[in-house]
Symmetry: C2
Subunit: 64 residues, 2 copies
């Protein structure tokens, strides 16, 4: 399976795991919605900073 | 390997394959840069509309 782990990075570069095994990522004007393969959902006021799919990593940063 | 195929969708819903086997996706204020596992790179004035990682699909839509 090719899901990814989603991390939120803060201004010091520290990464916090937000949700693992993420399948769907849906950005909108207010932020981003994540859904994993267990149908867990999280919505954050964040945007994608970087994705490294081979490493199964998606890095988000806070909006604002 | 867990790379994805990246498609650009137009206003009619038609999808055009932009780059296959994409590993890295880097958005910025002007658009998005894609890099695949063969080190091919493309930059577009587009944003992510939807990602379905289990299906290896990333859908972009044009900015503007």
């Amino acid at each position: 399976m090719c899901e990814a782990n989603v991390y939120l990075v803060d201004e010091t570069g520290k990464e916090e795991l937000i949700l693992d095994s993420v399948d769907k990522v849906i950005p909108d004007e207010n932020g981003i919605t994540l859904e994993n393969i267990y149908s867990e959902r999280k919505t954050l006021r964040a945007r994608i900073k970087l994705m490294e799919l081979v490493e199964h990593r998606i890095i988000l940063e806070n909006l604002d």
